[in-house]
């Protein structure tokens, strides 16, 4: 039997792990790095580049290099997040036929699941080379607050990469699995603080003898390490403009250099108290070339991003209240994601909980390790580990008057199935449109639309008489399916909610076929 790998498909970096002789290990890529940049580029000669190769040429080929596409996956083109990305990203984002954002690189347009698929394929390749055997199955992680569309797109990406996705699990849950692995069975309440490149999640779990139960999870879609970078970039832009009178905001190449430098400076300041940003020849005008040279202190950085860190603590408080516990009830805090290396983050967390966070896990690798552990546990004969995860978002339908009827509350243990009876609002109404939504607002409009379908053939009757039972299922992947039944006629209609941005099977197959053509280039 081939082995199952765990993949942390990150916003900025991805990581792959496997359980080897009972021990979970991270698999280094060909360059010896344990993480691979989640980047993809189309070079001038039409070559496809992934990972470090893509990152290396990003400065010179910014328009055709995709990074952080995880922020776009499964979203609608008209969403705030996509609009923001259009403003900020040097690559071109266009609207696809399913109202989804797509990426135009040169002549070719890529879907987001396709880009994610290319990165997953690279991770699969890394694993295959290391293991010396083909890999077919994987567990892939997603941020806990990902909605159904984002999860489905990630699953599609796995398919595109030629992987059978055994399960989609939440990143903080995976981190907790890795933390709990090999520990003596004892009852513990654990809080995972996961601040990655583009996402922020908090999960609270209870661990017992071989069982992990997620009590609550909360997240902030609009928050991640890249927001820290952006603050630093802005600071550099302002400093440069004040000194030289030149605004670099419209210079794609200069911006890319600034972004890289900002990220590096941010990382440096986790080690040292002061760092220097040097970008020679960043611009030029009538007076000749200009250089950027700025000294940045840790203190300055902390002043720039302090409010972002404060925002994360608000999410922590919300999660604690959802779990019905207090900070004192938390036995262990686990920090996940590269951004948690920042001393300010560690201090704020330590202050809040009155104890130092757990040091034993590598924040970049722990998620992939957890995914590998879960994959192994699913396939093993002796069930040593059971994961009881929850749905991060409430699920329901739009009802009469634009209300949102929640049928499954957030933080409900999965798998779950709930059925409710609804009725018509007009006489002789023979069809109902069922709009499935995910979110927390009472107003239907303000939630994410997962999809809609029409149940027709309802017997003619006065309004309020027909009884239509709508059942919702959320499986252990967090993926939703819905069915509706007219209790009088027995007529049933079921759908796997196909959210905006997800691809049809034909589309996926076409992408898979397309990619086969490029297979040889992945192996250079």
């Amino acid at each position: 039997m081939s082995r199952v790998i765990g993949i942390d498909l990150g916003t900025t970096n991805s990581c792959v792990a496997v359980v080897d002789n009972g021990q979970p290990v991270v698999i280094p890529n060909t360059g010896g790095y344990k993480t691979t940049p989640s980047m993809f580029a189309l070079a001038d000669d039409g070559k496809r580049l992934v990972g470090h190769l893509a990152k290396r040429q990003a400065i010179t080929n910014a328009r055709n290099t995709v990074y952080a596409s995880k922020r776009l996956i499964g979203r609608r083109f008209d969403s705030a997040e996509v609009r923001r990305a259009i403003e900020l990203c040097p690559y071109e984002i266009v609207e696809g036929p399913n109202e989804d954002p797509r990426l135009q690189l040169g002549e070719k347009v890529f879907t987001c699941p396709e880009i994610a698929g290319i990165i997953l394929r690279e991770m699969k390749r890394v694993a295959q080379e290391h293991l010396g055997e083909p890999v077919r199955e994987a567990v892939i992680t997603v941020p806990a607050h990902f909605n159904d569309a984002q999860r489905q797109c990630t699953k599609d990406a796995g398919k595109i990469a030629g992987l059978e996705v055994l399960r989609i699990i939440n990143e903080p849950t995976a981190a907790a699995l890795a933390y709990g692995f090999g520990r003596k069975p004892s009852d513990e309440t654990v809080l995972v603080y996961d601040l990655g490149g583009g996402t922020f999640d908090v999960s609270i779990l209870e661990m017992g003898d071989g069982v992990l139960e997620v009590l609550a999870t909360a997240g902030d879609t609009f928050l991640g390490g890249e927001d820290f970078d952006r603050r630093v970039v802005n600071q550099l832009l302002e400093t440069f403009e004040a000194a030289e009178g030149i605004d670099l905001r419209s210079e794609a190449m200069a911006l890319q250099r600034l972004k890289d430098a900002a990220e590096k400076a941010k990382c440096d300041l986790s080690q040292s108290l002061q760092t220097e940003v040097n970008l020679p020849f960043i611009a030029s005008d009538a007076n000749g070339p200009r250089h950027l040279s700025v000294v940045l202190s840790r203190e300055k950085l902390e002043a720039l991003v302090g409010d972002i860190v404060d925002r994360t603590m608000e999410t922590v408080k919300l999660c604690l209240s959802d779990a019905g516990i207090t900070a004192q009830d938390v036995d262990q805090v686990i920090l996940v994601g590269g951004q948690t290396r920042m001393p300010l983050v560690q201090e704020r967390v330590a202050d809040f909980f009155g104890k130092r966070p757990h040091k034993g896990v590598n924040p970049d690798e722990v998620v992939a390790i957890g995914a590998a552990i879960q994959g192994e546990a699913l396939l093993s004969d002796d069930q040593k580990l059971v994961l009881l995860d929850v749905t991060p978002l409430s699920l329901g339908i739009a009802t009469y008057g634009g209300h949102f009827a929640k049928l499954i509350e957030r933080n409900t243990t999965l798998p779950v199935r709930r059925a409710h009876v609804f009725t018509t609002t007009r006489d002789n109404q023979t069809a109902v449109k069922i709009r499935v939504l995910q979110g927390e607002s009472d107003v239907a409009e303000e939630n994410d639309l997962l999809g809609e379908f029409i149940l027709s053939g309802i017997r003619e009757a006065r309004k309020g008489e027909p009884e239509i039972e709508v059942s919702f299922d959320i499986d252990t992947n967090g993926i939703v399916s819905v069915s509706a039944r007219d209790l009088a006629t027995g007529r049933e209609q079921s759908i796997t909610v196909n959210a905006t941005g997800t691809l049809s099977d034909e589309e996926i197959q076409k992408i898979i076929d397309d990619n086969e053509l490029y297979e040889i280039q992945f192996k250079e």
Binding site: G208, E213, Y400, G401, P415, D427, K463, G464
Partner: protein, 432 residues
């Protein structure tokens, strides 16, 4: 397990429903449901075996299972409850296993003993929550969690990931869902208090019922067991209500009600009625909603009827009499006591060669509601005439003329002329 000598003994017994049992909460096949419906405390086991629907052996198995589960208790001929339901006390799982054996499938990728365990567990899903978790009713949070974790490890669907589990996959889903429900509710102090209260209430009624049975004089014949049977608790199994869900439903009902009332003040009656109807659907115990509903619904019906009349009128203009009649008919469903509407429907039905029987009923109803209208009498007379009831026709037409001597149409009809008319056009044919 076969029924041996024991069944003969049981045959002399009178099964009846246990105290507080709500049959609607059991999961039964129609045949089992039929059997359960025949159990009245007066029909002996022996007779139940021959009521049809189930083979006698299956009847025995069913009854034994129900006895084991406490759904059914046995009484002797004099109406006394058998102290310990036979077998139920000594080997509670044995009858279940007997039923289960038929469902075990050795070809599945679940060990047979695990299959039996699943079937056994499934059989107790209707029991009180703490019994599902296998803890005492007063178990603390730690004990609850330990039980929950242990059961999760044992019965979580993931344990059989990708295995061929046949029908057991669905069973596991159901079981695990129930385990989660039990754990969540018992962990919520409010919900748990409610559960304990209703359990205590049910137990109280059960005990009272039993006392009543024992105190009852030896039952003579049929009627007695009926009287001795305890009344079902008013709201059996309240403990299965999820208090949080109830709160939410009430909150939702309130929102619908408020939206409905807002529509009401804005004069949008149909929308208002829809809102209040939904409020009642979500919170059927709220008296205010029900009280308001009648008024709102009447307004909504008036609105709907008025709209239908307008539709009928435009259909008339287009000479689409069939559609117009249909609209009047429908409008009458909303305003069955509107004399004018009845009159117009009757007139149209008569004039277009429609159903004379209904035309007569409408016309009569109109006259009954307003005997002072010459037109109502006239139309009724015309309908009678078309139906060949000359004497009745004459009476009504004369009444019309007495009320309005200028009613030329009535006069013409009395003279023997006058076919079916809309007043503006003769319509040929169709007259029987």
């Amino acid at each position: 397990m076969r029924l041996g000598a024991n069944s003969a003994g049981q045959s002399e017994r009178y099964p009846r429903l246990g105290a507080g049992v709500d049959p609607s909460r059991l999961s039964l096949t129609p045949a089992e449901g039929y059997l359960l419906s025949r159990i009245d405390g007066a029909t002996p086991w022996l007779l139940l075996r021959s009521i049809g629907g189930l083979a006698p052996d299956d009847v025995d198995r069913c009854l034994e299972r129900w006895i084991a589960e406490g759904v059914v208790v046995l009484t002797s001929r004099d109406g006394r409850i058998e102290k310990a339901a036979p077998r139920a006390a000594s080997a509670p799982s044995a009858p279940t296993a007997a039923v289960a054996a038929a469902d075990v499938d050795a070809s599945l990728e679940i060990p047979v003993e695990v299959q039996l365990r699943i079937l056994e567990f499934e059989a107790k899903l209707e029991r009180p929550y703490h019994e599902i978790l296998g803890v005492a009713a007063e178990a603390d949070r730690k004990e609850l969690r330990r039980a929950y974790f242990a059961l999760s490890k044992e019965l979580h669907p993931d344990r059989f990931f990708r295995r061929n589990t046949g029908p057991f996959g669905k069973r596991l889903d159901r079981i695990f869902g129930k385990i989660v429900e039990a754990y969540e509710l018992l962990s919520d102090p409010t919900a748990r208090a409610e559960i304990l209260r209703s359990l205590a209430a049910a137990a109280g009624e059960g005990a009272a019922a039993q006392a009543a049975v024992e105190a009852a004089p030896a039952a003579e014949e049929q009627a007695k067991p009926e009287a001795a049977r305890p009344r079902a608790p008013r709201r059996p199994h309240v403990f299965s209500l999820h208090s949080r869900v109830v709160r939410e439903r009430k909150a939702r009902a309130k929102r619908f009600f408020e939206a409905g009332m807002a529509a009401y003040s804005a004069g949008r009656w149909t929308e208002a009625a829809g809102g209040v109807r939904l409020a009642i659907a979500f919170d059927p115990w709220n008296a205010i909603y029900k009280e308001q509903f009648a008024g709102v619904q009447r307004k909504a019906h008036d609105e709907r009827a008025a709209k239908l009349v307008r539709e009928a009128e435009s259909a008339l203009e287009l000479r689409d009499f069939k559609a117009a009649l249909h609209c009047f008919e429908e409008a009458l469903e909303y305003r069955p006591h509107d004399a004018e509407l009845l009159h117009r429907a009757a007139k149209l039905a008569w004039a277009t060669g429609g159903d004379l029987h209904r035309a007569k009923e409408w016309a009569m109803a109109a006259v009954e509601l307003d005997a002072k209208s010459a037109a109502y009498h006239r139309v009724l007379g015309q309908v009678y005439k078309a139906a060949g009831l000359e004497a009745n026709a004459r009476r009504e037409l004369e009444a019309a003329l007495a009320l309005d001597p200028n009613d030329e149409e009535a006069r013409t009809a009395l003279r023997g002329g006058g076919g079916r008319s809309l007043g503006f056009r003769w319509l040929g044919g169709g007259k029987r």
